[in-house]
């Protein structure tokens, strides 16, 4: 029992110490960071956070990120739900090939798509819009969402569909009122993964934006100013990017174990 705890404590400490360090730095002034080494801030200050919240260039980064992540999650789920239903319930021409082709897109290195995406979205006038990033992230999120949802839906007996049909539900009413509540944990998990991969991605998001839809992750490269790197502000910005993720995890904490098995255990 003791050695069980020890392993876990070590591992979690290993995970938390770098995060603590970032948090520690975010409460220091740049001068304090550069002037010496201390395990905790001697004069804790919120100046770095104030800098971020008083500068639209900074905080709009968060707004932009949130908008395209939200859009992406909604689009991904909206198209993946009916498709996953089709894959879990019916056979149709080319179904297997289509499924594997979809999944193969999850294997595409984002770096491969950077330039073509840039050209594609520029040519249709969507460059530097939230929707462009949201659509581009669908490349890897839609296959994932379809796959996760298909796993959860296959666990629901087909008899439920048939009973609803006999009871006179139209397909739409059945899907919205009976089927979706049954797989709500699956929808939650899919949404979680869409959020996760869209929120953490930078390469594509940075390439497809310049000013109006610039993600927070890209704004962070701005901290190089005339006086050198402002480490304090950089650390504070970093801490702020962790918070949305932490909130999302907190909400799904009781489903983490099951959710990460993607409905396939």
């Amino acid at each position: 029992m003791k050695n069980i705890r020890l392993t876990l404590v070590f591992y979690i400490a290993f995970l938390m110490i770098p995060l603590y360090w970032l948090f520690n730095m975010s409460l220091k002034t740049n001068t304090e960071i550069l002037s010496g080494f201390s395990l905790w801030p001697t004069n804790p200050t919120l100046d770095n956070y104030i800098t971020i919240f008083s500068d639209a260039g900074w905080y709009m980064g968060y707004v932009n990120s949130t908008i395209y992540v939200g859009l992406n999650t909604i689009i991904s789920l909206a198209v993946a739900l009916p498709a996953a239903y089709a894959f879990s319930r019916y056979r149709f021409m080319g179904d297997k090939h289509l499924f594997f082709w979809l999944l193969s897109n999850r294997m595409a290195p984002p770096a491969v798509f950077v330039l073509p995406f840039f050209q594609l979205y520029s040519s249709i006038g969507l460059f530097d819009t939230h929707i462009a990033v949201a659509l581009a992230h669908c490349l890897f999120n839609v296959p994932l969402a379809v796959w996760i949802l298909e796993g959860f839906m296959s666990g629901i007996p087909k008899e439920i569909d048939e009973t609803a049909q006999i009871d006179g539900y139209s397909f739409g009413a059945f899907f919205l009122r009976i089927f979706m509540p049954l797989i709500k944990s699956g929808i939650g998990v899919a949404a979680f993964f869409c959020f996760m991969f869209s929120w953490v991605e930078l390469l594509i998001a940075r390439t497809l934006t310049s000013v109006d839809a610039k993600p927070i992750a890209a704004v962070m490269t701005r901290t190089v100013s005339a006086s050198g790197l402002d480490w304090g502000v950089l650390a504070a910005a970093g801490v702020l990017t962790i918070i949305p993720g932490a909130i999302v995890i907190w909400f799904v904490r009781n489903h983490i174990a099951k959710g990460f098995a993607l409905g396939r255990v």
Binding site: L19, R89, V200
Partner: protein
């Protein structure tokens, strides 16, 4: 489950098909298009056939980036998969601490990748980072911006920090689905701790491990942002992995033709290796009961 034949199901799949076709096929066509042409900059293109492909496949630069990439992915898998299983085995089945453990473990997974890079870039710096500072105080000769071994170690530790939890969570999910009776039977049969792991836990983990290995392989093979932020691919080219090299070529040097050929080769390698992993890991399974 017996599925019904129903061609109308295509209507349900159509939105996904169109969306993914739009964001996958059109860009891919562009890439294919570039990969067989050359341009002198004024929008004039001419056919060069497979020239870029043979150039890339024969180039020292591509070989070394591919070599580094394979080595990196291999190390990552060899560390993260066993470590992930080991830690998952140590998580108790229930108790108030379990939720907290899982939440803390999941945290690194939701940090934007460049922030992960930034965290480690800071953490490993000798002047302002805890790790760098401690190592310097212990008189360890460590400098990830100068020494390529140090750079590798830093990036590998960063990736272990970032992604091992994914393996842990997947394995934990797999382990929680094993009924108690299995452990009781193993006790009655006098199985050792190792035999219990080998014959009960590992077989039941197979499915999640397949997912874990595939995800970890794909994502480590496509890694870009984190090492780019920490080392920028350096020192020299020591940590220039395939994606970093590709972006350098495509956006830095604007060598569209070679970059496109590079892209396609890269994509094919990922697909091929993923397929190999999938085949090996499902080889002994006989009939699988799921698509």
């Amino acid at each position: 489950m017996q599925k019904k034949l129903n061609q109308k199901a295509w209507f349900l799949v159509l939105p996904v098909f169109l969306l993914v076709a739009f964001s996958a096929i059109i860009p891919l066509m562009t890439v294919v298009n570039y990969s067989v042409q050359d341009s002198f900059g004024n929008n004039e293109f001419f056919w060069v056939g497979a020239e870029w492909f043979s150039e890339i496949l024969n180039s020292e630069r591509f070989h070394s980036a591919l070599g580094r990439q394979l080595l990196f992915s291999a190390i990552i898998l060899l560390i993260e998969i066993p470590l992930g299983i080991f830690i998952a085995l140590k998580i108790p089945k229930q108790g108030w601490a379990v939720s907290l453990c899982l939440v803390l473990m999941a945290l690194p997974l939701l940090i934007p990748w460049n922030v992960v890079g930034t965290i480690w870039q800071i953490f490993a710096r000798e002047d302002i980072g805890l790790l760098g500072y401690v190592l310097a105080a212990l008189d360890v000769d460590y400098n990830y911006t100068q020494n390529s071994t140090d750079a590798w170690i830093t990036i590998i530790i960063m990736d272990v920090w970032h992604w091992t939890s994914l393996v842990v969570l997947l394995c934990y999910a797999g382990l929680s689905s094993i009924p108690d009776a299995y452990y009781q039977a193993a006790k009655i049969d006098g199985a050792s701790r190792w035999a219990t792991f080998r014959y009960i836990q590992l077989p039941k983990l197979k499915r999640v491990l397949l997912i874990a290995v595939l995800l970890r392989f794909m994502d480590s093979f496509m890694i870009y942002t984190e090492p780019f932020v920490v080392t920028g691919g350096g020192p020299g080219n020591a940590t220039t992995f395939l994606s970093i090299d590709l972006v350098k070529m495509a956006i830095g040097q604007f060598d569209l033709g070679p970059a496109a050929a590079f892209s396609l080769i890269y994509f094919l390698i990922v697909l091929l290796l993923s397929w190999v992993f999938y085949t090996i890991m499902t080889a002994n399974e006989g009939k699988t009961n799921q698509s």
